[in-house]
């Protein structure tokens, strides 16, 4: 990871997880792990967020909420699937009300495995997401902006 070009804001949504990953996501913000040292702030507002952290598999109720949150975020945006349920469905894969991972609904850029995902792994995933965000930003630049 090189220089971080932006202080990205983070939006967290629980698509249907057991809570384990959610409290670990919040844990990343607190003094021991302190994700704010990368300039990252947890926001509740999708219109201001750059990174969407989603935990848990998707069910029919949360599907439209996830799609709506994703569409409300401005470009460029990155989606991080936190925990094995968000990646593939995990232990809940055989449940009748689970569609599977987040990638069945919206495109996912970074997968963070684990049950529950450890804060170190989540931070690693978010740092990887920063690199993806930079790439996406570079693609969006107009020729004039690139010359500058």
């Amino acid at each position: 990871m090189g220089k971080v070009s932006k202080s990205p804001w983070l939006l967290h949504y629980d698509a249907s997880s057991c809570n384990g990953c959610d409290i670990e996501v919040l844990d990343c913000l607190t003094p021991k792990y302190d994700i704010e040292r990368f300039g990252i702030i947890n926001t509740g507002d999708p219109f201001q967020a750059d990174i969407l952290l989603i935990t848990g598999g998707v069910n029919s109720q949360t599907e439209r909420v996830v799609k709506q949150l994703y569409s409300q975020m401005p470009e460029p945006k990155v989606v991080v699937a936190v925990g094995i349920c968000a990646c593939t469905g995990g232990v809940f894969k055989e449940c009748y009300n689970i569609r599977g991972g987040i990638d069945t609904v919206i495109p996912v850029d970074v997968y963070v495995p684990g049950c529950a995902a450890r804060p170190e792994a989540i931070i690693d995933g978010v740092v990887k997401a920063l690199a993806v965000l930079d790439e996406k930003q570079a693609v969006m630049k107009t020729p004039e902006e690139k010359e500058r």
Binding site: Y13, S16, C18, N19, G20, D22, D27, K32, G56, A116
Partner: protein, 359 residues
């Protein structure tokens, strides 16, 4: 009469780590009614008993909820053990109590932090969660997991704690007790915190009983009821009195949870003092046949487990009534008449655990 308007609250909201939706009926700034709707985290875990055998299902039971994971594993295992007539070794029962009380400490510290966050008291939130890290590190050391521990199994526990671990646990508890004293003073004596908590969301004793409140919500209204008094597992050998408070408001619920933290410290100390040597699990033969109802006290209140076996390795039915489910009607009652700005705090004071509620 002022004009009525309906404000949607959730499912995605900054104060909620989990999705719950409420339609708030407002007259100006005053809430006159609230209609909760749930179903955002429903996975259908109870039906998984038909796909996973009764020993594998312990892992699913622990994933009903990440915060009360240890308690759900314990409740399920105890229900199955009662169906099968298994006598769990004494040492395993004590170890279970130690881990469940540790998860109560972790859950209550988490709640205190979230409450501070809902009040907008950021530094208090950070401090509470900093102290909570110590108990998570202790979980990591004794079980290998921070949130999901997987220590319970049908017939006992999977891991033992040796004497050095127990000694370290005692030291950690002493550290935590020292660290939370200033936090407790802030929660209970700070003017700003008091002005947000005192007198809001009052639930009278009669209403609490009528609406079926459980756990700290019930005890804060002055009812002495704690399932641990029944003496399941090793609790029969430990001394405890239910913590109560007669205020019935948000402040009372905060007081009850803080006192329960200290109660948990004492219970762990007593359990470590009395823990006998011996096996930690017994071999399990055969399959469960018959049914059983069981109640245990989770950090959020009374949880009821029902298990029905049919003699095969797959259970017929598993049913769970979680504390948050029974605390939602009292919540709707306390929301009536409050100000819109108090709604997030009042929702938090029941300590909602949506993934338990919806399973």
């Amino acid at each position: 009469m002022a004009k009525r308007s309906i404000v949607p609250f959730g499912p995605q909201h900054p104060v909620l780590p989990e999705p719950i939706h409420l339609d708030l009926v407002l007259e100006d700034e005053t809430v006159v009614g609230a209609v909760p709707s749930i179903g955002y985290v429903h996975r259908g875990l109870e039906t998984l008993v038909k796909k996973k055998d009764f020993k594998q299902y312990v892992y699913i039971a622990e994933r009903i909820c990440g915060i009360c994971s240890c308690g759900h594993g314990l409740g399920y295992c105890m229900a199955v053990e009662n169906v099968m007539g298994i006598d769990v070794p004494e040492r395993a029962q004590y170890l279970r109590v130690i881990w469940v009380e540790m998860s109560r400490i972790h859950s209550h510290l988490l709640w205190l932090g979230l409450l501070a966050d809902a009040l907008g008291f950021e530094s208090l939130f950070m401090e509470s969660w900093r102290v909570r890290e110590k108990i998570l590190d202790m979980f990591d050391e004794t079980t290998g997991g921070r949130i999901i521990h997987s220590v319970n199994q049908v017939g006992g526990v999977q891991k033992d704690m040796d004497s050095s671990m127990l000694k370290h646990l005692l030291e950690t508890i002493k550290d935590i007790e020292r660290d939370i004293k200033p936090l407790v003073d802030t929660f209970l004596k700070d003017y700003t915190v008091q002005s947000r908590l005192k007198g809001t969301g009052i639930l009278k004793k009669d209403d609490a009983i009528l609406l079926g409140a459980v756990g700290p919500m019930l005890r804060a209204s002055g009812v002495e009821y704690d399932v641990r008094m029944l003496g399941y597992g090793a609790y029969k050998n430990l001394s405890m009195e239910p913590v109560t408070c007669t205020d019935g408001d948000s402040y009372g619920r905060c007081v009850v949870r803080i006192k329960e933290l200290f109660q948990s410290f004492d219970l762990i100390r007593e359990a470590i003092g009395k823990i006998p040597e011996g096996d930690i699990h017994v071999p399990v033969k055969g399959n469960p046949s018959g049914e059983y109802f069981l109640r245990i006290e989770q950090p959020r209140g009374e949880a009821i487990y029902y298990v029905k076996g049919n003699g095969t390795k797959f259970l017929d039915r598993f049913r769970l009534r979680t504390p948050t489910t029974s605390n939602i009607p009292p919540l709707v009652e306390t929301l009536k008449g409050c100000q819109l700005a108090d709604v997030p705090v009042l929702i938090l004071t029941i300590d909602p655990c949506i993934s338990c509620t919806e399973r």
